[in-house]
């Protein structure tokens, strides 16, 4: 399956114009800034324990095995979502799907670059802005830098990654992006007020 998917991606015209949802939208409030991040390449990766080593080698980033953690190397981040599930995000422009296609060990990698969009929430009040709709404990003790988790924001499912003490990356489905961005903007305004 991974092989077939990689082939399709390779034949697609590289010059096709991409129009990311909400591109360039930004909202600033006191102590927090919410902005849509540029497009990235992503895959949803499912693999049994026995394939993890081979996939880590091919991807160039060690797939984390601990819950709620992530690993990052050279613009590529692997987020633990479940015991056999990872989200791999590449911001350096190298397609992780092509890397996985070369692995013969059992796995399923599905390109979801266009399914998700990413929103960054930064600033001293970032934690409060996200907590306006996310019930998880986001204090630095419970959710340190590098922590990643699938969770919810209001009514939409998101994947949350803490990239720095005061910076989060929120990944959500493209069709939810308007809702999530607006929710975070309102949250930012409340957090600032």
């Amino acid at each position: 399956m991974a092989k077939a998917a990689a082939k399709t991606a390779a034949t697609a015209s590289p010059s096709a114009e991409r129009r990311p949802a909400l591109a360039g939208r930004t909202v600033s409030a006191t102590g927090v800034k919410v902005e849509v991040l540029p497009p990235a390449l992503r895959i949803s990766l499912r693999a049994p324990e026995a394939s993890v080593a081979a996939l880590s080698k091919a991807l160039g980033v060690t797939l984390p095995k601990q819950p709620k953690t992530s690993a990052s190397k050279a613009g590529r981040t692997a987020l633990w979502l479940g015991p056999d599930e990872w989200l791999v995000i590449d911001e350096a422009g190298k397609d992780p799907l092509a890397n996985c296609a070369k692995v013969s060990a059992l796995h399923s990698s599905v390109g979801i670059s266009h399914r998700n969009i990413a929103i960054s929430v930064t600033g001293p009040a970032a934690e409060a802005a996200i907590n306006s709709g996310c019930p998880q404990d986001l204090s630095l003790e419970a959710f340190p830098v590098g922590a990643a988790s699938r969770t919810i924001l209001g009514k939409a499912e998101i994947v949350l990654l803490r990239t720095a003490d005061e910076a989060f990356r929120v990944e959500c489905w493209r069709s939810f992006s308007d809702y999530v961005f607006t929710f975070l903007s309102e949250g930012a305004r409340d957090a600032a007020g």
Binding site: P67, K68, G82, E85, S149, I152, E157
Partner: protein, 103 residues
């Protein structure tokens, strides 16, 4: 908000991330075709609905997405313990289960 311990995420998470998935340990017959109507009714429709300790399946829908089993007290709504799917019914519950403590 209730905090539920996910045995796969190995920590307590807010209840909004979870979905109930019915009673646990309801065994499906290996010979479904040969089941009598009465037995099928018992398997398919009849649930224990106890007052007190109940064994349920839960799913960490907006987290690791895994199904697991939980022991819950229907009177106090407190979770006694959770354990991974496929593991047998715990023969002994933690001592504090009578006081309805979640941990």
């Amino acid at each position: 908000m209730l905090l539920i311990r996910c045995p796969y995420c190995e920590e307590e998470r807010p209840e909004l991330e979870f979905r109930n998935a019915g009673e646990a340990h309801v065994a499906r017959s290996a010979n479904m075709v040969g089941e009598s109507d009465d037995d099928f009714e018992k398997f398919f429709f009849i649930r224990s609905n106890p007052k007190g300790i109940i064994y349920e399946r839960w799913r960490h829908m907006h987290g690791c997405a895994r199904f697991f089993n939980a022991v819950r007290d229907t009177v106090t709504d407190k979770f006694v313990m959770t354990y991974r799917a496929g593991e047998p019914k715990p023969s002994k519950l933690p001592k504090n289960s009578n006081e309805g403590l979640a941990k």
